[in-house]
Symmetry: D2
Subunit: 458 residues, 4 copies
Amino acid sequence: YIGAVSAPLYAENPEDEVSPRDMQQINSKGNMDFCIKNIKLADFGRREIELAEDEMTALMALRKAAQGEKPLAAAKIVGCTHVTAQTAVLFETLKVLGAQCRWAACNIYSTQDEVAAALAEQDFPVFAWKGESEDDFWWCIDRCVNVEGWEPNMILDDGGDMTHWIYKKYPHLFKKVKGIVEESITGIHRLHQLSKAGKLCVPAINVNDSVTKQKFDNLYCCRESILDSLKKTTDIMFGGKQVAICGYGEVGKGCSAALKAMGSVVYVTEIDPICALQACMDGFRLAKLGDVVRHVDMVITCTGNKNVVVREHMDLMKNGCVVCNMGRSNTEIDVNSLQTPELVWQHVRAQVDHIIWPDGKRIVLLAEGRVLNLSSSTVPIYVLSITATTQALALIELFNAPEGRYKQDVYLLPKKLDEYVASLHLQTFDAHLTELTDEQAKYMGLSKYGPFKPSYYR
Amino acid sequence: YIGAVSAPLYAENPEDEVSPRDMQQINSKGNMDFCIKNIKLADFGRREIELAEDEMTALMALRKAAQGEKPLAAAKIVGCTHVTAQTAVLFETLKVLGAQCRWAACNIYSTQDEVAAALAEQDFPVFAWKGESEDDFWWCIDRCVNVEGWEPNMILDDGGDMTHWIYKKYPHLFKKVKGIVEESITGIHRLHQLSKAGKLCVPAINVNDSVTKQKFDNLYCCRESILDSLKKTTDIMFGGKQVAICGYGEVGKGCSAALKAMGSVVYVTEIDPICALQACMDGFRLAKLGDVVRHVDMVITCTGNKNVVVREHMDLMKNGCVVCNMGRSNTEIDVNSLQTPELVWQHVRAQVDHIIWPDGKRIVLLAEGRVLNLSSSTVPIYVLSITATTQALALIELFNAPEGRYKQDVYLLPKKLDEYVASLHLQTFDAHLTELTDEQAKYMGLSKYGPFKPSYYR
Amino acid sequence: YIGAVSAPLYAENPEDEVSPRDMQQINSKGNMDFCIKNIKLADFGRREIELAEDEMTALMALRKAAQGEKPLAAAKIVGCTHVTAQTAVLFETLKVLGAQCRWAACNIYSTQDEVAAALAEQDFPVFAWKGESEDDFWWCIDRCVNVEGWEPNMILDDGGDMTHWIYKKYPHLFKKVKGIVEESITGIHRLHQLSKAGKLCVPAINVNDSVTKQKFDNLYCCRESILDSLKKTTDIMFGGKQVAICGYGEVGKGCSAALKAMGSVVYVTEIDPICALQACMDGFRLAKLGDVVRHVDMVITCTGNKNVVVREHMDLMKNGCVVCNMGRSNTEIDVNSLQTPELVWQHVRAQVDHIIWPDGKRIVLLAEGRVLNLSSSTVPIYVLSITATTQALALIELFNAPEGRYKQDVYLLPKKLDEYVASLHLQTFDAHLTELTDEQAKYMGLSKYGPFKPSYYR
Amino acid sequence: YIGAVSAPLYAENPEDEVSPRDMQQINSKGNMDFCIKNIKLADFGRREIELAEDEMTALMALRKAAQGEKPLAAAKIVGCTHVTAQTAVLFETLKVLGAQCRWAACNIYSTQDEVAAALAEQDFPVFAWKGESEDDFWWCIDRCVNVEGWEPNMILDDGGDMTHWIYKKYPHLFKKVKGIVEESITGIHRLHQLSKAGKLCVPAINVNDSVTKQKFDNLYCCRESILDSLKKTTDIMFGGKQVAICGYGEVGKGCSAALKAMGSVVYVTEIDPICALQACMDGFRLAKLGDVVRHVDMVITCTGNKNVVVREHMDLMKNGCVVCNMGRSNTEIDVNSLQTPELVWQHVRAQVDHIIWPDGKRIVLLAEGRVLNLSSSTVPIYVLSITATTQALALIELFNAPEGRYKQDVYLLPKKLDEYVASLHLQTFDAHLTELTDEQAKYMGLSKYGPFKPSYYR
């Protein structure tokens, strides 16, 4: 959480017009197998990576624990993820564990050029820069897989573009691929479709839905980011405010708990009676949105559904009501219904629009109804660490799994590894686990080393 | 929650020595097919049942909802459960839904005689009284199943004794039995053993592990009963006290949250890294018991494991430390290890012993290490209502299931019915569920009427 | 909090008919200057006192700290308070600090006879037994003050009866009295009336309104006892229940916080806008009772006012609504208004009545509207310790105050001593205070030893 | 909370070099009695004021309530405060209530030029612009008081500069001045010094220390701003983190509660035993900073004292520890002690410095130890509204007070008005106060219209 040192620190900010593809750069060791913005940024990037290492203690512990056995020796991994200081710690961990990697960015804007430079300087084949064109994007991916004398046997993907490219261009490579590790919901959706269509030809692990990752992404992270996001966009005071929260899944639970703790009066809407009953037992009034929308000061959607807040609701809201979306999709608020001639849109500041009714009433729409915390809250590095550790363990698992353990299907991370991810993250909190005695393990019918719970346990 | 009218209210407390088995009683309609303590208590018992009906709104709503279709018409149910005002509401509900029932007690002490009388007065064949002998117990069960011209086709059991008796004495009856509904952990364990041994010859539903019931039994109920139980046994003030809570499953989560809310400083011990990480994120220090046991004021076990608190721990505790068990088994505290000559046991009041060390140090042991809230806290009627409603729906499900839906195995209550139990209980809270629109249901790929979540969802 | 060993433990329970006044008992040292139930109970009582000493660590620390200087040497104290193990620790502390004491009970029922015996055995002149008549009561008080060759110079009173008796019978004694320490609200009210009437002839310290005592009596103790009291009288489940709490002073704050923490939805009523705003900022809806009374499950009064809940409110309550009073006076609920012919009162169990309306609706009235936690919750020994320590310090202060510091008026305990009471109680929590450096004290303009806040600071 | 429309919205951003003092501007009505940046910004400023009016409902309600009686008719107020949309609502309220005002800025940077323009356009004599020089500053103040044919009779000050100027230059004006209303701690300190020195020649009201304002400035506002400030400066995740909070006054209480609610483990340090005991009862470990500083992740000072965190503490902190100050003064962290050669300061981003020890350990110092929430959190408009309303009522009180009610001294706002400020702010929360009946008022010995509590009550 020390946080990345921000870019403005280095004076030399090369705004040169030449595309990286048109430059031939070379690192201090004479290596040229990379394509990045500017190799000169390597020192600065290395410092960023070192700061990130300080925080990603779980990966560093994994390096130490598994360094001897090199569980990824002989692994040849092609990666397509964000290229940042935190993912650099992941990739360098894979290397320490024995893997050879080639790496492209999964997003044309998110690359930290100085980090890419630091990797390139260490002979890491990385193909990514901030501000790639669509064409650059696929070119970089291609540079990872289309290599003479080198064929990948593992895929680390975030969004499914690497997997897609190999399917499309080099399907023969799948013969040697032992598995795919995919993080994003989109990518997992694509894998499931392949699987349904009988076209998935290697096993895949869905790292998004592991218990540890889910709890952090949805419950713990949202509990903090809802407050953060609202404060960064408005100067609302939470105390005494009435808030409607749509949906009481993990995200809704996190948002409700946070706002209640800040002194808001929270109403919850739900479709699922079991979640609804949980809301009641947690002290929230369960209501239909239409019944409370007139008097609340904020409406926050957390359902994953579409058109949860519609024009009829917004017509009833009182002046100044804040409307925003913490859910997964961008469809929860029917923003299109606000695109009518009688309503005036006033862009007030980044992420904030006022929609003004003919009678002067304003509602405050945040992030144009898109997922709020992605737009206006920083994801804590701790959450990134959980993702990265989960990815590393999934790669190790797939690469070393005995023949037949995994079929051509999409799997969740085995419970035991999910528990291992958690245990690697306990250290930060100076937390001390208790170990089962032999007698206790026998009594419970458990192994002393886990898994400790059935796979469905949350 | 109005609560049962306590027994002392009726002056006539018949302490007659004659066993009910040796008396022939007859109700006002001339019926004699029952065996109870005293038919004269019927009016008083009816009042108790009416009070219970006021609270068990879910069952009353079910009566109304299903009265027309009589989903249990032709069902012949033998029941073996506690005989109390609350279960009477359940059995009379089964009758309203079309079933014929015969009923014995599952415990020799727990029968409310006035309630049994009220049922008998309504021609309900009930065989139970407070203070049965072991022999009486099996005799009553037998009277339920060994009937000329009547064969049960459903079993409602709590502990497995009815099932056991039929297996042992009348195995042929199973030909007609469509299923068993079992509530207790013991009974479920017995069913699983039968199943493993290939001897389970009808389907069974485990109603103990439905999501709704679990949440109430463990999380919500324990959150309240830990405070209640401690106050009823000691005059401890919670504020500022340091407490070690062993185990952070649902029970541990409930206890920790309650004590934190009362101003205690809580340390949690765990073996499972995922639960441990949850404890950290909820603001609790995760420690080993041995590391904090010297300075805590209370130790509460919630693990389900054995020997979690052992003599070495108790030797280290400070003077006045309270030790108790909220877990499922009575084995969590190694009480036997305190049975040594140098320690003096002083029974202070019901549920409270002081164990005195040679140097004068005392620890305060509650309920001799047995499960505390069973001994010293009342189970709220709301929790009983959830159990009873779950049982009723499980009976309806098994009785009406199409051929082949259930094999000879132990099942959980289907998610959709679990959700229905929850929805019937929302009314108490004046809670209003939202319904999916057609468009939303389609978007989510859900039926508008549930189930709304995968079966593993908690 | 180990708690008193309950009476049933000693087999010998003397139910003798002879009044203590008609017996002449003698202790093992030949002393007869006492009047109690039964000197033979002394050993048992001593054990109770020793257990209490274990818990009243603040008084024990005070004994140690002030033993050398004997700040009460030459003090002659007449006391009129409850005679229990805890107050015995107080009186024996006064003795250790140098005082001579004589002691009568302030309540005809509250004396623990075995404790009185233990004191008598140690030559402590105590005049009290459980079950005194009115006449006995005044006789005991008289035995404290009407002594040849001994005149009190300090009064420790709880209710004002000792003070009243001296005013009435021996007003000349006031010439030597250096001050009165009074604990009860009633007693303080009487002192203020004397003061207004110009008849108060010595200084008095009101120990009831010291900050430390107030916070514990009202906020911290009620936060726990509201839950305790409700659970001991009803089997209500708090989760999801709607509750109206009348008054948001310290008691209301404590009750609201506790019920919110247990998952209740709390509405607050207030007359004072500042407290009302605090309720809002703490996340409670502020409402008029009439506007929410139809749908709440409980109404709890905490105002100190009268007729806060009246018949009109109770006519509107729903079936099963629980009504109770946590305030100071017994007047908050207009119970008289329920004494009308059409309503049926049904006594359900100790502290619980059902009031039944003609249409069958019942409300559940607790403790007949009297202060609930006095009736059905144990006061934690920790709270008693704070009171006793405050009394001891007030006696020391008045006895040693330089001429002129206190006039013939009613005073609060000086802030510095109030802070000292708090500091003596911090030890229980293994709490470590920080000391000001000289530089910091100077910067803040404070003494390093307090007082640290202005007298009005709460 | 809709928030001010940010400046970038208006394209025309006059960066002209000419000082406002050297321009002669004229409003649309021909008036020239003002000095501001650019009269053309008036429309834009008016919109900002209108948005602020929407939020400052208390002042708007006061306008309505007091419009008829014009309690400030004949008042001539000179004001020296921040010139923002919110204070504009205050000044225009004063005008509506009958006052004539002249207004200068109390800070050379804080003026919103468009707001000043809007006021000037309405003939309001305002003398302020963003980026005044020191000389400009005093010149503007002088233009308020040094007016032919107009003499102020009330002063509204924030910092004491207006008061100081009149003392220095125009002391004769005090003859007509009926009182001073001062908001800032600095200004109040100056008034107290004048008073001590016998030089205060008019009554003054300290609006900073009214109960309502204090609660919001310190407790409620800090509860939110601590989270906000930390998130805006670092990407720390609060869950599971260990935090030391120095001081458990209102600010410390707010910060502790907020972090506890987010899942942090909080240690509190205190010098005052009463506050310390409160921390214990609220569930916090009370410790000395030196004893916990090695293992905490954050240290937050809230004491108002100096050198609470010193070099010795910082030498012991672990890598990545965040250090910041939420207290009143900038002296709490001994930042000077970090200015030694062996430590490297690295400025990471606005408000964030890393201090690097020779062994590579970094601590993260926020706002260079200055008060954090002033630097990095927005003050909610609700808090500003409370201040402005308090100022308005204090002006009305002093102006209309009967001869002799106030001497030449510094007063707190009378309790009744403090309550009135609160009641005007309840509306936002749709909160409904209960009124005393005549009978209840009599029983309590209170007026039905307050004050409801003694003046010391918090």
